[in-house]
Symmetry: C2
Subunit: 283 residues, 2 copies
Amino acid sequence: MKRFDLARYKLLVDEALETFLPGGSEHPVTIHQAMRYSLFPGGKRLRPSLALAVHEMFGGKPAHFLPAAAAVECVHTYSLIHDDLPAMDNDDYRRGRLTTHKVYGEAMAILAGDALLTLAFELMTHRLTEYYSAARVLNSTAELAFSAGTYGLVGGQVVDIWATNREVTNPVQTLEYIHAHKTGALITVAARIGAILAGATKSELAHITRYATQLGLGFQIRDDILDAQASETGKLTYVSIYGLQGAEEKVRRCFESCLAALEPLAGNFALQQAADLCLNRKS
Amino acid sequence: MKRFDLARYKLLVDEALETFLPGGSEHPVTIHQAMRYSLFPGGKRLRPSLALAVHEMFGGKPAHFLPAAAAVECVHTYSLIHDDLPAMDNDDYRRGRLTTHKVYGEAMAILAGDALLTLAFELMTHRLTEYYSAARVLNSTAELAFSAGTYGLVGGQVVDIWATNREVTNPVQTLEYIHAHKTGALITVAARIGAILAGATKSELAHITRYATQLGLGFQIRDDILDAQASETGKLTYVSIYGLQGAEEKVRRCFESCLAALEPLAGNFALQQAADLCLNRKS
């Protein structure tokens, strides 16, 4: 039975990013250095790892899929860089290091984000056709674009900004919208790309989508719980609405839904583990 | 003999953008309004019009090509929005109207740019396969991504920012780099996409590339000349380096190179007109 080997996936993703990113001494050096600063050492690489696990589950080869995995991480990192900007969340630190704009300035941070988003689409369209049909590649790329746009990632960030420092009349709906789009969309599309490129059937894709949607939601609620235990914030979170107990209960239900969505799929042990790792984590 | 009918192309591009952009009342409304504000009424739509002219020249149908034309204009508009930001050129006006960030705020302007860039890739990958082979679509999309990235558009903007308010030791090289990347890359790739999707041969593509490169260069020099005649700036331009006479001479040579590049191609009258219109314009 295949395990969800996050450490192995992270290594593969890191190597792929190292290969696909322009070198830090390539002209114009500043932008390439800013892109690399933002991508490395990086976080858990959860999204590309999930995509890899799904891809393997349906018989795909990680080595072939790496451009897509790297593309997903590039989109994620671009969104973090832009979210951290002074005009947005104005964060000076991320994962214990200075944010990109604190090190390279605002202009370069905006451009580094732009460049990573652009690179994601170059990786998708330029590097996958050796192993996958053009139709599947186009399909995956279109899904990534849709999920990164105003009906996905960007839409979530827009509503998040709008809701900050405002008395929201429908907090539950707003919170769910923000997370389904800001966190959920990219996690879901990562899993879907893994399945689409491996040639999953329509019904398999539907199960994976249900699984990834619940995983994304639970992941976010777990984040809120861990944040709430660390410090008191004035932000709209699952804990501020449902309390710690209520939020824990919601994660538990997400976890169950994840497992239920996987039931019809053979070889689902790795994805069960992934759900456990994401939703029951302690940090 | 087919004319270069810019007015007709502009109308087609405007209609296409109107169709492909999410409506201004679609949730989240602010971002969709900011995107529309940035795109409409817009400028000459030169890049998509050039792409359409090339496409028609090689036997392609404008109606089929419109998603690609719209995508090119979305990339162009995204780059203008981000260039105008306070952290970049800090411009309050563009084409006589307030810039996007002056109307919608910085956060929304950054996100509107992000969303237009993303939409460009969605249009390319989602809307063209009905009429073009997946291989040609992928090829075109990969070229667009490459030309928008750090070896194209973004690279040009990085060096432009770097060179501003600085004593540049090699001004000619720097200026040429900036314009080849910031203006040239997108003009060239627009023409190439028009040719690739229409099924141009390798040698036809080479001629079109030479033509578009000279067109982009001449277009920029003409811009510099018109700017210099309107006002005195301290910026590094073709006029500041070569003087008005020298710059005029350079545009003239670009125009000749454009015509020379077209010589081997049948039905090139429209593109001759396009070059005349771009390089010999009075405003």
